[in-house]
Structures are given as structure tokens and as C-alpha cells.
């Protein structure tokens, strides 16, 4: 022991620390409860983080699908646009309807 520590502890009387079994049991129970609480808290936090991450992934997936959906809708609309259909109709030999005759179904006749 260094001189300094000896100087400091010189006046301290060594005593006997006796712990009763009852007190020891209580301290042990307290430690157990605190440990369980800490473990539960850790579990809760880690589970929350995992859920949070999962939700983030789902959101990202939702936004990705939304983007793809919008993109596809616009592409379909471009393919089916009037100008596109017009071009295809002309290629296929369609012509505007003229002298259209409206047929009247007669009751009782097939």
C-alpha cells in the first residue's frame, strides 16, 4: 500500500460486514427483477426496431410497386393512344364508317 493510501486509510477501523440471509435473499430478488426488466426492455426495443425496419421495407416496396404501376399505366396509355390506334387502323385498312344503317330488332324475331 502506498504511503498516500496508508495516510488516507489509517484512521479507518476494519469492521465485520455481516449480511443476514434474509437481506441477501432480498438483494438477490432485486437483482433478478432488475435483470428481467432490463431483458424485457431490450427485447421490446429490438422487436420495435425489427418491426420498424420491416415497415420501412414494406413502405419501400409499396412505393416501388406504385411507381411501376403508374409507369405501366402511362406506357399502356401511350400504346393505346388515339394517334397510335389511328396509325394502326390505317395500316390495317380500316376506313371511317359511311352510310351507316341502324338495324331495328323486331320483337319476336330472332
Amino acid at each position: 500500500m502506498s504511503d498516500f493510501m496508508q495516510w488516507v486509510t489509517h484512521g479507518i477501523k476494519r469492521g465485520r460486514f455481516e449480511v443476514s440471509p434474509r437481506l441477501a435473499l432480498r438483494l438477490f430478488a432485486l437483482v433478478v427483477v432488475l435483470t428481467v426488466m432490463a431483458a424485457l426492455y431490450l427485447m421490446l426495443v429490438s422487436r420495435t426496431a425489427a418491426r420498424g425496419r420491416h415497415i420501412q421495407q414494406l413502405e419501400a416496396e409499396l412505393f416501388r410497386l406504385r411507381r411501376e404501376n403508374e409507369q405501366l399505366e402511362v406506357e399502356i396509355a401511350s400504346e393505346g393512344s388515339i394517334s397510335h390506334i389511328w396509325e394502326r387502323a390505317i395500316e390495317l385498312g380500316f376506313a371511317p364508317a359511311e352510310d351507316v344503317e341502324f338495324l331495328r330488332p323486331v320483337a319476336g324475331e330472332p
Binding site: 495516510w7 488516507v8 489509517h10 484512521g11 479507518i12 426495443v45 420495435t48 426496431a49 418491426r51 420498424g52 425496419r53 415497415i55 420501412q56 413502405e59 419501400a60 409499396l62 412505393f63 406504385r66 411507381r67 411501376e68 403508374e70 409507369q71 399505366e73 402511362v74 399502356i76 396509355a77 401511350s78 393505346g80 393512344s81 388515339i82 394517334s83 389511328w86 371511317p96 364508317a97 351507316v100 341502324f102 331495328r104 320483337a107
Partner: protein
């Protein structure tokens, strides 16, 4: 215990207790007194606003569900400069892909700013290609770009949306707030790279896309109207024009075409041009309607009980109103004529005579009931009110205005106001508010349907039916060029002079025709307006012919059977 050790022990105890008191006091200062300051400081470092991916702008569709304005995905290539591992390698990879010098990329990546945008927008394919390279610190962020799959079709009705997501003109401009997506931002923990740390469950309030709009427009009708307008402008060598197709029973606009037009997806092409084609002439430009307005003068006289179609007057070729001598367009005298003849022969003297019989009070009350002098209230951006001077405006109104206004001169309307006024006649005298949005679809799928709004009962149903019969005679006896085979149609031409400072332009006219059918159950009303046609200045030779061609096609396309078939079905 000896005195010396006891004193030393007391000294040490005092020092220790003092130290504990200082520590406790400091703790109390930090944790209790300055609690809020340190809490805010800590949160400022750890919690940052986290923007959730922006959803798309609302989609605009035609009445049958075809997309007129949608959203495409593009990408923005960005860099967190502090996290770029190898600037040389990143610049060497990105430069050729983005078609920019690698030195420029290097300069951006070495910038002191923590975040730089390298290029935006780039195509989704290119964005995916860059993302696949896995370059440290380089991010590829998706972004929405407005897309118009039908190109120039209905450009004036739709308007356009700029790169910042702000809508201008047409429906994009008028319903901008509705179409804009919701922006959600929340405070949350972030890591060093400002990425969200998922240790707290984020609020499940996802941003919602903008509301979708279903227009009353029919893209097929719109395409046919645009095709006919393009043909008419070319055939009659006009400078431009407008065609509006409406359902007179609901005032739903089925087509609204104007030339010159533009591709809303390429609106930036017009930057720097003096004359921008973005404004919709159908609602933003006014003109003197000319003889089409005679329909309203006759309607007013019939409804006021001052005349019947058979009432006669003597036409000496001119009439003086407020000191102004008004003559017929043909400069001829027609002798004894009926009120029906006023419309059939389009007699200025006749309408001026009717207006003087009514007096300004009655005449202008009817014009206002038909919607002149105030915006029609259509849900399109940039609508103007037109111009209708009233006797109360004693500084500008003159007695002669009563005579000239009766045949559509000295007042100005938009094409939409004019077609709405005539549609009022076709709709038993009830004027509704014209509209282009039929339904609104909220992001949760809730559909709100537009309810027709009655603006006024301009004339009685009886007067309207009488007038319609006269207007049928106008087509059959006065303007055979507008006849549609198999259908009874009603209409009226208008050949109007163009006002210029100090008088009227002697060179050009505005030729227009408003017609509807089939009578007696009108399902379509069409306005054709051609600006300064050169082959003929008369509407009967230009606009009326355009009306006939378009009406004939639309009756077929919309499945409206000819009169014979309809009558036979009605009898059964």
C-alpha cells in the same frame, strides 16, 4: 483514535462530500435546470425531418377512363460527397453513362457541399443501370415526371405541369390543389448518412397521391373535333379556330379543340416565344359573335311576349337606332318579313327592330340570363368574362349599342359563352354551368360526381321549343350547307367583323356556326369558329360545312340513330 488521523479523516470526508455535492449540483443543473436545452440539442443532432417518398400527382382521364395525363418515373443521380469512396472511379463510370465530361463529374464530387445533384432527370433505365454499379456515395432517387400519352390531344383542356409539380392552364391549372399529392414529413432518428434509423416505429400515415379527375371529355369525339378543325383551317385557309362539342342536356363538354395548339409534354419548347399557345382560346379569348347572337334577340322577344315567329315587320333595308343607321349585311331591303325570317335570312334590321321593341331593360336582362357579360363558370383556368356594356355604364354605353348588340356587334363573348347560350335554347331554356370535370376520385377511392348546376331559366320551355323549330328552318331554308342527312338539326351562322382600334378590320372576318341536333331531342351541340378564313368570309361557306361534316361523324360515333329509326322506335 489519535487526534492526527481523526483530523485527516474528517478532512478527506469533507473533501469527498464536497465533491459529491459539486457533482450532484452539476447533475441537477444539467438534468433539471437545463433539461430542455440539452434535450433539444440532442434531438437536433439525432432527429431529422424524414421525407417519405412523394406519391404521384392525380391522374386525369377522359369520360371512358383513358389516361390523358399520367405520371412516369424518371431518376435523379445524386451524391453524398463525404461518402464517395473513389472519386476518380465514380467520375470515370458516370461521365460516359450520363454523356457529360468526367472532369465535370469529378468537380461535382469534390465539391464542399455535402450533397450534389449530378443529373436530373434521367430515364429509369439509365437510373437502374447506375444504381447497379453500386458506387459508394452515389444515389439514384426516383422522381415523378408528368406524362401526356395522347400528345397534343386536348392540350388546351388539360394544360401542363412543370418540373416542380405545379399545374398551369386548363384542368392542370384550375384543379392544381386537388391534383397535387400530399407531402408527409416527420421527425425521426437518423444515422450519420441521414438515413432513417428504424428503432422507432414510424407513424403509419403514408402520403396520399393527388385526387384523380375523370373529365367529361370523350377522347374519340375530341380527336374527331381536332381532325375536323385542322381540315377546316387548312381547307378554308383560316389563321386558327375553335370547335366545342357539348351535351346540351347536361352542359358536359365532350370536346374542346383550338388551333394553334401544343404538346403539353414539351411546353418548354415555347420558352422565349412571343406568342405562347397555352391559353385556351375557347375560354380566354373573346370575339364579337355576329349573327349567332340574333338567336338570343329573337328568343328574348318571343319570351317577353312581344312577338311570335309569324309576327311581321317591314324591312326597308335599314333602321336608325340611337342615331346610327343599321343596314342588312347584304345591303338589301326585304319588304314584309316575319320574325322567323329574321333568323332564316339573318336580317340585322329585323333584330335591331326587335331590340327597340323590347327596350334596353328587357333586352339586356335576357342577354345576362343567357350568360353574357360574366364568366360561364367552367372549371378551366384563365376564363374571361367577355364584354357586355349596359345602359348603367353611361360613359361607355350608347343608345346605338341596343341596335348593334342585337345582331352580335359591339359586345364580346368567349366561344364557350356563345355555345352555352345556344345550348340554353336546346335545353328548354335552362342554362346550366358548363363543365369538363365529371368525377373526382379521392386517393381512398371515394368518388364525387359533379352535379349539374342551374345558372338561370333564361326563357320558358315553350319559347325554347318554338325557337328550335325556327332554327331548324334556318338550316333547312337558309343554310343548307349545314344540313346533316337523316337528322333534323337546328343552327345559326355568324359572320362577324373583327374590331380593331378605330373601327373594324375590312380584310378578315370570324366565321362561326352553332348547331345542335337531333331535333326534337338534341343530344349534341357544336360550335365551329374559324378565324379569318380566306376562301370565303361567309360562315355558311366555311363553318357551316365544317359543322355538317363533324355532326355527321359524331352522330354515328355516339350511336345516335337517324330520325327515321328514332321515330320508329318511339312509335313502338
Amino acid at each position: 483514535m489519535a487526534e492526527g488521523p481523526r483530523r485527516r479523516l474528517r478532512l478527506v470526508s469533507t473533501l469527498l462530500i464536497g465533491l459529491v455535492i459539486v457533482i450532484v449540483a452539476q447533475l441537477a443543473q444539467v438534468q433539471l435546470v437545463d433539461h430542455s436545452f440539452y434535450k433539444a440539442w440532442a434531438e437536433e443532432q439525432r432527429e431529422r425531418p424524414i421525407a417519405i417518398d412523394k406519391p404521384p400527382r392525380g391522374v386525369i382521364r377522359d369520360r371512358n377512363g383513358y389516361v390523358l395525363a399520367g405520371n412516369a418515373v424518371m431518376c435523379s443521380v445524386e451524391a453524398d460527397t463525404a461518402y464517395v469512396v473513389d472519386v476518380e472511379a465514380a467520375a470515370a463510370e458516370l461521365g460516359p453513362l450520363l454523356h457529360i465530361p468526367a472532369a465535370h463529374v469529378k468537380q461535382l464530387l469534390r465539391s464542399e457541399a455535402p450533397w450534389v445533384q449530378i443529373m436530373s432527370p434521367v430515364s429509369k433505365e439509365l437510373g437502374d443501370q447506375i444504381a447497379a454499379l453500386g458506387l459508394g456515395g452515389i444515389r439514384v432517387e426516383p422522381l415523378w415526371v408528368r406524362e401526356y400519352p395522347e400528345g397534343v390531344l386536348a392540350s388546351h383542356v388539360i394544360g401542363f405541369c412543370n418540373a416542380e409539380g405545379v399545374g398551369f392552364y386548363g384542368v392542370e391549372g384550375f384543379h392544381d390543389t386537388l391534383l397535387r399529392p400530399q407531402h408527409v414529413e416527420w421527425e425521426g432518428p437518423v444515422d450519420l448518412a441521414s438515413e432513417q434509423v428504424p428503432w422507432r416505429v414510424a407513424p403509419v400515415v403514408l402520403p396520399q397521391p393527388g385526387a384523380g379527375l375523370v373529365l367529361t371529355l370523350d377522347r374519340t369525339v375530341q380527336a374527331l373535333a381536332e381532325q375536323e378543325l385542322a381540315r377546316s383551317v387548312q381547307e378554308y385557309q383560316a389563321e386558327g379556330g375553335t370547335i366545342i362539342v357539348m351535351d346540351p342536356r347536361t352542359f358536359e363538354i365532350l370536346a374542346l379543340a383550338s388551333l394553334p395548339n401544343y404538346d403539353p409534354g414539351r411546353y418548354t419548347d415555347f420558352y422565349g416565344h412571343d406568342l405562347l399557345p397555352f391559353e385556351d382560346p375557347a375560354v380566354s379569348q373573346q370575339y364579337e359573335p355576329g349573327s349567332v347572337a340574333k338567336v338570343l334577340t329573337v328568343a328574348a322577344a318571343l319570351d317577353a311576349g312581344l312577338a311570335t315567329p309569324e309576327t311581321t315587320y317591314h324591312d326597308q333595308g335599314w333602321i336608325e337606332v340611337g342615331g346610327l343607321r343599321i343596314a342588312n349585311a347584304s345591303r338589301q331591303a326585304y319588304g314584309d318579313q316575319t320574325v322567323a325570317d329574321i333568323l332564316i335570312r339573318s336580317l340585322n334590321v329585323g333584330t335591331a327592330w326587335l331590340a327597340t321593341q323590347m327596350g334596353p331593360g328587357v333586352f339586356y336582362r335576357y342577354l345576362q340570363a343567357f350568360g353574357f357579360g360574366r364568366p360561364a363558370g367552367v372549371d378551366l383556368a384563365g376564363e374571361v368574362a367577355g364584354q357586355l356594356l349596359l345602359p348603367e355604364d353611361y360613359e361607355r354605353w350608347h343608345d346605338s349599342n341596343l341596335g348593334t348588340n342585337s345582331f352580335g356587334q359591339g359586345l364580346a363573348v368567349t366561344p364557350l359563352q356563345m355555345i352555352s347560350a345556344v345550348a340554353t335554347v336546346a335545353n328548354d331554356g335552362t342554362r346550366l354551368r358548363p363543365h369538363v370535370v365529371g368525377r373526382r376520385v379521392a386517393s381512398d377511392g371515394t368518388v364525387s360526381t359533379y352535379q349539374p348546376m342551374v345558372e338561370s331559366q333564361a326563357i320558358s320551355p315553350q319559347t325554347a321549343r318554338t325557337l328550335i323549330e325556327v332554327m331548324v328552318r334556318v338550316v333547312e331554308e337558309g343554310v343548307p350547307q349545314a344540313r346533316v342527312e337523316g337528322y333534323r338539326v337546328a343552327g345559326k351562322t355568324g359572320t362577324a367583323q373583327i374590331p380593331i382600334p378605330g373601327g373594324y378590320d375590312k380584310e378578315g372576318t370570324i366565321a362561326s356556326f352553332v348547331g345542335f341536333g337531333p331535333v326534337p331531342d338534341p343530344q349534341l351541340i357544336i360550335l365551329v369558329k374559324l378565324d379569318r378564313p380566306k376562301t370565303s368570309s361567309w360562315a355558311s361557306e366555311t363553318a357551316a360545312r365544317s359543322f355538317r361534316r363533324l355532326a355527321a361523324r359524331l352522330f354515328v360515333v355516339l350511336g345516335i340513330p337517324p330520325d327515321g329509326t328514332r321515330m320508329a322506335e318511339a312509335v313502338r
